[in-house]
């Protein structure tokens, strides 16, 4: 059997069908099993805030120690008319989330995320 780490790539369509809590539970349950999760589109700021809060509640001394997470810098969405009508809106971008004790970010630039993953 191949030894390694499972990587789950979750499409934006699938994420859009889920509520905030469903997204957070999906991510955390996956990451707590030792998997790496890649979201095609990242979480909204309010969802990120809840993800931090719920992650903290899941940490245990000999088990889960939290998450490592990286995303490209946000960029503004919509053209001039969109900004004029709806104000400033940022676009959530590809996001990598994994267990803090298995995923280590090596390098992050505006167009490159380089990470190192170890198996449990």
């Amino acid at each position: 059997m191949i030894q390694g780490v499972q990587i789950d790539l979750i499409s934006s369509e699938r994420l859009e069908r889920l509520t905030s809590m469903e997204k957070i539970r999906l991510i955390l349950d996956d990451v707590m099993e030792g998997n790496i999760v890649i979201l095609e589109k990242g979480l909204a700021p309010d969802e990120q805030s809840k993800l931090i809060e719920i992650t903290m509640r899941e940490i245990t001394p000999e088990g889960f120690s939290g998450i490592e997470m990286e995303t490209y810098p946000a960029r503004e969405a919509g053209g001039f008319i969109g900004r004029f009508l709806g104000g400033k809106r940022t676009e959530n971008r590809l996001t990598v989330i994994g267990p803090a004790n298995q995923l280590k970010m090596l390098k992050k630039e505006k167009d490159l995320i380089s990470a190192w993953v170890s198996s449990r």
Binding site: P45, M56, R57, A100
Partner: protein
């Protein structure tokens, strides 16, 4: 012309005073060991002679949100603001008790500290969503400001439309680069200070009275 400018300023101050909330809650947020409690202590000492809490080199010394009420700050320009200072635990996405054992703690003490720290971070996030009117986001200017937790936190604060002042702390250290912080967050005012030595805190007070008032 000068008369018109003076009159406009007086009307503006009058309207601000009229519609201003009695007191607004300013949260000091940032990653662990950025100097949040050192700044909270300095602000509270400078304006009331009191203190908020203990500081330490060991991360997560502050593990409960602490609020100090009714602090009246006056800037060099004469503007005044009355605020509650809310000192919060350092925000992070990971806490491992083994990291505390490297500071000489035994396992039991380290596990307790880690558990309290996780509760503290969750509490700080809850405050940010429910009870904070403005934010001082504190960064250690010797560290990389592009850390994901900083990008996330500033994004969360922006999405809640809260006014934010970014403080580039520890400018007394040789590796400090407040310019790096300014380039990371060009959309917000950045004030370089040393909360330990008190250098440039007057600029922060002036910015607070203008920005949170």
């Amino acid at each position: 012309m000068a008369f018109l400018v003076r009159t406009k300023r007086k009307i503006s101050r009058f309207l601000k005073a009229l519609f201003r909330k009695q007191s607004c809650r300013i949260g000091i947020y940032g990653p662990p060991n950025a100097g949040k409690t050192t700044l909270a202590n300095r602000i509270v000492r400078d304006w009331t002679g009191d203190a908020v809490g203990p500081v330490s080199e060991v991360p997560h010394e502050t593990r409960r949100v602490r609020r100090k009420e009714n602090i009246t700050i006056t800037g060099n320009d004469g503007n005044t603001i009355t605020i509650d200072i809310v000192d919060t635990p350092g925000v992070t996405t990971k806490i491992d008790y083994n990291d505390f054992m490297e500071y000489g703690m035994d396992k039991e003490e380290a596990v307790t500290r880690a558990r309290e720290a996780t509760e503290g971070v969750a509490e700080a996030m809850h405050w940010l969503r429910e009870d904070i009117d403005g934010v001082i986001y504190m960064l250690d200017s010797t560290q990389d400001p592009f850390m994901q937790v900083n990008i996330m936190m500033v994004g969360i604060i922006e999405s809640r439309r809260l006014p934010v002042i970014i403080v580039a702390n520890k400018i007394d250290l040789p590796d400090a680069s407040p310019q790096r912080i300014k380039s990371a967050f060009p959309q917000h005012p950045v004030v370089p200070i040393s909360s330990l030595e008190g250098s440039n805190v007057e600029e922060l007070y002036e910015k607070m009275t203008n920005y949170f008032g």
